[in-house]
Symmetry: C2
Subunit: 191 residues, 2 copies
DNA sequence: GGGAGCATGTAACGGGTTACATGATTGG
DNA sequence: CCAATCATGTAACCCGTTACATGCTCCC
């Protein structure tokens, strides 16, 4: 923890997420970061657009939280590799310690539609629920393979923890969705 | 369903949510809408800022989807009451029928922090998890009372359905969070 | 009298997406 | 050779929030 708590510019969570990706110690390009976000952050947070990642990287560099390697150009010359700096690490540690709890934000379009069920075609509603179950299924598949990779090394212990949480989360999403469909059926036949 | 599918300006989901609030047939002010959103939409979607609601209402009015009563001023003169129009109803029905499935968006700050556990203080992490459980508990309380109200009239059948879903969702959030805490404990003692 | 809640709005700002533009490399 | 993927970036745009401004009413 840095003792001098300068009037650090308050960064959006996205910036911390990107810096967090770098905090595992590897040198990565914006492109790499995007792919990785797609296969990790996406499941419980969200994956920023690639253009935004490039923007955040430049901001982080400006703050001295990340740097691009200048010395000894190697492999692909058109690839710009970022690495976290000690200052960046410190800032991230401070953020993790200080950031106040914020309730998760959920925007569940499916539920919005059910909520407006008095104006919807019941079959279309069921269709949407099924689509959602299918989507969740594929998320589960991706999560499972992500976890298999993460569990190969203790370095990924915390990500693996989160992936285990994710598998439970999406499993429960499925149960919830089938419950919703059942309730819908019951309501329409019963009433 | 309107047969003439004019090149309807694509509206953001927020606009449909606001129009949806009006679709239950009552005349409401922006202020009313905000309070209602806070106690319903918030649990599975999100509650727009009041300033945005005012903005959306003006847009909906411009599109002919909502109107403000001009005739016979009554009660409070400084209150502007909106009502859905038949065109607005039709547009909403079309949206419900046509809008493609979109996966729910989840931004779970707590999980982002756990994901970065290698840089976090384990006790601070547990603290955050507990805060989350407490928050969820209060959501559950609010949901339960919302459902009690909704179940008084068949008019609220679909909202009641969604509230039942919500209770299950937040209950499962709690289970998931305690599971996460247990995994965290196990990891730190076991390894 | 004064604070809490009711009620409506504007302006500035930033966050984030989409679309566009460009070009290198790899593999079928 | 052509498509897919790798790779980086800019510009326009809009969504949504915060902060600000105003004023009324109710009740302690």
């Amino acid at each position: 923890m840095s003792i001098a708590n300068e009037p650090r510019t308050r960064l959006p969570a996205t910036a911390w997420a990107v810096l967090g990706l770098l905090s595992f110690g590897r040198e990565l390009s914006g492109y790499d970061l995007k792919k990785w976000a797609d296969s990790s952050l996406r499941f419980f947070y969200w994956s920023p657009a690639i253009s935004q990642i490039y923007g955040e990287l430049r901001r982080l560099e400006g703050l001295g939280y990340a740097e691009t390697r200048t010395a000894s150009q190697d492999e692909l010359r058109n690839k710009r590799l970022y690495r976290i700096t000690p200052a960046g690490r410190d800032a991230l540690i401070d953020w993790l310690a200080d950031a106040p709890y914020e309730p998760p934000m959920l925007k569940h379009g499916l539920l919005l539609r059910v909520w407006l069920g008095h104006l919807a075609d019941p079959d279309r509603l069921r269709e949407a629920i099924d689509e959602h179950i299918a989507h969740t299924e594929s998320m589960l598949g991706e999560l499972r393979s992500a976890r298999e990779i993460a569990e190969t090394s203790p370095e990924w212990a915390y990500p693996a923890l989160v992936e285990r949480w994710g598998e439970r989360y999406y499993t429960s999403e499925q149960i919830l969705a089938t419950g919703l469909r059942d309730d819908l059926d019951a309501m329409e036949s019963g009433d």
